[in-house]
């Protein structure tokens, strides 16, 4: 059985509003892929699969859904952007 780790999840825009927090701590097995974080978000406001176009950042840099998480990592769920 994998060692448990604690990671921080950053949330923005409608995700932040739906969860009711801009950051969460999650306890997950070491090596959990970034793309699996969605399924661990709390609340009933986020049913089903991740939205189309969701991207991920790991420790403030872009990453891919398969990247493994380790103790103390910070992962951000980045919805399609709309600045400008």
């Amino acid at each position: 059985m994998s060692e448990q780790i604690v990671v921080t999840v950053r949330l923005f825009a409608s995700l932040r509003a739906a969860v009711g927090a801009d950051r969460l701590s999650l306890s997950l097995p070491d090596g959990t892929p970034v793309g699996a974080v969605w399924a661990h978000l709390p609340g009933t406001a986020l049913p089903g699969d991740p939205p189309a176009g969701l991207r991920y950042a790991l420790n403030h840099e872009w990453t891919l859904p398969g990247a493994p998480l380790h103790q103390g990592d910070e992962v951000a769920l980045v919805l399609p952007v709309s600045g400008g």
Partner: protein, 139 residues
């Protein structure tokens, strides 16, 4: 110069930031909150940033503008509430000649809109609020 701020934007400061006596042209773009969106009346847009990555991505855009166009570029974007008619984003680009300055300025705003983790929340005159972040489009 890369700036994410909850304060009013200053175009003069942005132009000064790209001043170079070897550059003969400076182009600027100012984006403002428009009163109408999809036939609804808007009173303001609220912007939220993933600040760490937004700053890094804006800095990369500036480096790319330098490499592609030989331009110096400065970009400033608001966070928080921006009322109708007020600027939410400014880009200034200077280059030896005007064509490269225009190209770099356009590159800056176009890349910002697709790459930089910033989101807008529309605030309508009827009090409704709506995030523009793709969550209404299922996978």
């Amino acid at each position: 110069m890369i700036l994410l701020t909850a304060e009013s934007l200053d175009l003069v400061a942005l132009v000064a930031a790209v001043f170079n006596s070897e550059h003969g042209g400076t182009a600027t773009f100012v984006g403002t909150t428009r009163r109408e969106a999809e036939q609804r009346e808007v009173v303001a847009i609220a912007y939220e940033a993933y600040e760490e990555l937004a700053r890094a991505e804006l800095a990369r855009i500036a480096e790319e503008a330098q490499a592609r166009f030989g331009a110096a570029i400065a970009i400033a974007h608001r966070t928080g509430r921006v009322d109708v008619g007020h600027p939410s984003v400014m880009v200034a680009a200077s280059a030896p000649h005007r064509a490269a300055a225009f190209s770099a300025c356009r590159f800056g705003i176009d890349e910002l809109k697709v790459r930089v983790p910033l989101w807008k929340q529309m605030i309508y005159i009827d009090g409704a609020e709506e995030w523009v972040d793709g969550r209404d489009r299922p996978a």
